[in-house]
């Protein structure tokens, strides 16, 4: 694996210092990975995640946080080493299938998912005559088991979303939304003020708060699920959600009042907006955020405008 970025001096010296120790710890030798080979891997990983301006001690801390045994195993498998592959199968075959089952919730879909990933891990596809295994991209930042689950989930989401998106894109084409010229935004200054105050209130939140909001309200996840995603206790999320629900409304009204709107009008604007938005929120929540992968933000906005007038009529 060649690095496309330049390897900073800090990375080079940190790797030189730790390669031997980490290589020994990783047991890479028995998978046919030499110390030099392992050092190269470490360089690649460090360069991938660390800023070029990082100090040597930062690089050292980073390198020591890697799961080197699993990294060596994964790279060994990617190289086609038999003993590595044997160990991998013993340890992860069952878990992979069980994880697929949990994700796909249905036996045949789970098998398909798991088998599909196996093929990619094994390296069925080749590039320029060299077998390409997905395991070569494992960098040891998280556990291999967790990584396998994540990759499965990504595959599942891609397949499912792709199908769903295709449907919705087709719908949009029928409705002429794809090719219509961009309409001017609704002229209501109230709306714009409300939106900007809302944006302001949202921007003031921490990313964790916004994530909790999105996961709980947009995705409809349970408190327990959100807590697990963040690695905290459910009561923490429960408290956070309560706090956010209370404070957001206050902040938006306060923001609007600062802009000269009186309290009653501000509160009404919040309410009015709710009713109007009910239809298109439900619809846009039903589809996953279109702006994320396929459409650009402005297209998403255009869609919203398209939907809103239609809802009102």
């Amino acid at each position: 694996m060649s690095a496309t970025k330049t390897i900073s001096a800090a990375v080079q010296s940190a790797v030189a210092e730790l390669a031997g120790e980490l290589h020994a710890k990783s047991g890479g030798e028995k998978f046919g990975i030499s110390c030099e080979g392992f050092a190269a891997i470490l360089c690649d990983v460090a360069v991938k995640y660390l800023p070029e301006t990082g100090s040597e001690s930062e690089v050292r801390v980073f390198l020591q946080s890697l799961r080197v045994e699993e990294l060596a195993l994964a790279r060994g498998c990617a190289n086609g080493d038999n003993s590595a592959w044997e160990i991998f199968l013993t340890r992860y075959r069952e878990k992979l299938y069980l994880a697929a089952l949990r994700i796909a919730r249905e036996d045949s879909a789970a098998r398909e998912l798991a088998d599909g990933l196996y093929a990619e891990l094994y390296g069925v596809s080749t590039r320029e005559g060299v077998r390409v295994s997905k395991l070569a991209s494992f960098t040891g930042r998280g556990s291999l088991e967790g990584w396998l689950r994540t990759v499965l989930a990504q595959e599942f989401v891609n397949r499912y979303r792709r199908t769903k998106r295709l449907v919705s894109l087709d719908e949009e084409i029928e409705e002429g939304a794809q090719f219509a010229a961009r309409e001017p935004e609704p002229s209501s200054s109230e709306n714009t003020r409300l939106e900007s105050c809302t944006d302001e209130a949202l921007a003031a939140l921490s990313s964790e708060d916004r994530l909790v909001l999105a996961a709980y309200y947009l995705d409809g996840r349970t408190l327990a699920e959100v807590a697990r995603m963040l690695g905290v206790h459910e009561s923490t999320i429960s408290r956070k959600v309560d706090k956010l629900a209370k404070s957001l409304r206050k902040k938006i009204v306060a923001g609007m009042m600062r802009q000269g709107v009186d309290r009653r009008a501000a509160e009404e604007a919040l309410e009015v907006d709710v009713r109007d938005l009910q239809v298109n929120i439900r619809r846009s929540l039903g589809q996953e955020s279109p702006g994320a992968t396929f459409l650009e933000k402005k297209d998403a906005l255009r869609l919203e405008q398209k939907i809103a007038p239609r809802a009102k009529s």
């Binding site: 946080s65 949990r102 994700i103 919730r105 249905e106 991209s137 040891g140 930042r141 998280g142 967790g146 990584w147 689950r149 994540t150 499965l152 989930a153 990504q154 599942f156 979303r161 409300l194 809302t198 944006d199 949202l202 990313s207 964790e208 916004r210 994530l211 909001l213 999105a214 996961a215 947009l218 995705d219 409809g220 349970t222 408190l223 699920e225 995603m229 690695g231 905290v232 206790h233 459910e234 429960s238 309560d242 956010l244 629900a245 957001l248 938006i252 907006d273 938005l277 929120i281 439900r282 846009s284 929540l285 996953e288 955020s289 702006g291 994320a292 933000k297 998403a300 906005l301 919203e304």
Partner: protein, 456 residues
């Protein structure tokens, strides 16, 4: 009231932009709490905007137990929640329990006009603790403590009810002791169990063992309980005979009914000092001993003392095994495991008290899934200790308070409107408050453990 203005959700969604998604390694490291602060913030920033990546993170989470245990082990590892602090916390709570027990005895003795005012003065400071600790388990529970093999279900149910009642009026000291290792959704049972452990190794350990999973001592409480046990064992070993008797007696002397076996007298014989010593402790012991004669039980304490120390280790592993885990199978079956997830057995709430073989219900379920017959396909389960809620197709909602032995069908209804659709999620943040979502887009909540419901 947890609603946010819809405009908020709208704007939140619209902030999504086209940007690179974190790779699988980053998402995994995020989920495993292995990222540094700045990287974590960046990933969360993206996740707040990207529903797909949120979905990936959620799907890739490991099974419930692993995560919850990691969370609770993190909690119990360092700082405030370290073992030494926990042990001392237990010791202090134990002493408070003993003192409060003494107060209870004192008050009872007052009624029988037995005490001098000296004792009352000395016991005053402990009065506060007494307020916090209400009636203890009934004697029949004590019987269960000694004879775990008998494992009566009725007393266990009572115990659970009592535990719940106890929890609600428990002192903050006890509550905070339990807090650190409190796993998700298990406040009540864990608090009750930890208090039980604090009252005395015997009462706590055997109590939990005798009632097993019924008392809802979660496996997650095992780490703190495990630390409780050695601490209490230490207490037992180091304590004077008097103190030992006191540790034992809380469960004994609180018994209101029961026969007067001569064996109970053996307790008093060992630690008893004939005279009336000046210390509070002795007086408490005396009170205890005296009241023993009034309200004895069949407790074989001397034998049990030795037994407790040996049993505590076994108790702990039994505790870990005892609490059932719940899951939904791929076919939509409700499954329960009593061995930490090694083996699973289908549970069918529709058949009262049924322990139908898994193959039987599996076949029925397959049939239901294919033919759409009324046999329920479960989609969500929420459990805390012995309380279980399970929901599935056709608005089927079942509730059990005894880990799935008996079920009640619950129909959420509000002014004539009934919940419709398949139940897709069930969550109970505490025993009283629950939230159900259905495939018809409905959200129903309860604040009284499912007696009444309100549609959100």
């Amino acid at each position: 009231m947890r609603d946010v203005p819809k405009i908020v959700l709208k704007r939140l969604q619209e902030t999504a932009g086209e940007e690179a998604h974190p790779d699988a390694d980053l998402l995994t490291a995020f989920a495993e709490q292995s990222l540094g602060e700045s990287e974590r913030t960046r990933v969360m920033d993206h996740l707040a905007r990207c529903g797909d990546c949120r979905e990936v993170v959620a799907l890739a989470l490991p099974a419930n137990e692993a995560v919850a245990e990691a969370a609770s082990s993190r909690a119990s590892r360092g700082g405030w929640f370290g073992w030494p602090v926990l042990r001392w916390g237990v010791a202090i709570a134990g002493i408070i329990a003993i003192a409060s027990f003494g107060i209870v005895q004192y008050r009872q003795r007052q009624k029988s006009e037995f005490l001098s005012s000296n004792v009352s003065a000395r016991n005053e400071p402990a009065a506060n603790a007494v307020q916090a600790l209400p009636a203890s388990p009934a004697p029949s529970d004590t019987l269960d403590i000694i004879l775990p093999a008998e494992n009566k279900k009725q007393p266990e149910k009572k115990q659970q009810a009592e535990l719940k009642g106890e929890f609600h009026s428990s002192s903050s000291a006890n509550f905070s002791m339990v807090q650190p290792a409190r796993p998700l959704k298990r406040a009540a049972p864990a608090a009750g169990a930890a208090r039980g452990a604090a009252k005395g190794g015997i009462a706590g350990g055997n109590f939990a063992m005798g009632s097993g999973f019924r008392a809802g001592v979660a496996a997650k409480a095992a780490p703190p309980s495990a630390s409780n046990a050695p601490a209490t064992q230490g207490e037992l070993k180091n304590a004077t005979p008097e103190e030992t008797a006191k540790l034992v007696e809380p469960s004994l002397a609180r018994g209101q009914a029961g026969g007067v076996p001569s064996s109970a007298q053996t307790v008093e014989v060992a630690p008893q000092t004939a005279g009336v010593p000046a210390t509070t402790e002795s007086q408490v012991a005396d009170q205890v001993i005296e009241s023993q004669k009034e309200q004895p039980s069949q407790y074989q304490s001397s034998a049990t003392l030795g037994v407790v120390e040996a049993k505590d280790a076994a108790t702990m592993s039994k505790l870990e095994l005892a609490t059932p885990r719940w899951s939904i199978s791929a076919e939509g079956g409700l499954q329960r495991s009593f061995d930490r997830g090694k083996t699973w057995v289908e549970v069918n709430p529709g058949e009262v008290g049924s322990k139908a073989g898994s193959s039987h219900t599996f076949a029925m379920r397959k049939k239901a899934a294919v033919q759409g017959s009324p046999h329920t396909v479960f989609r969500a389960v929420s459990a805390a200790g012995a309380e279980v809620w399970a929901g599935g197709s056709a608005a089927m909602l079942y509730h059990s308070t005894d880990s799935g032995l008996h079920w009640a069908r619950i129909v959420p209804v509000e002014s004539g409107t009934v919940l419709t659709g398949d139940i897709t999620s069930v969550e109970f943040s505490d025993p009283q408050h629950g939230r159900i979502a259905t495939s018809a887009g409905e959200v129903w909540i309860t604040a009284d453990d499912g007696k009444t419901w309100r549609r959100q």
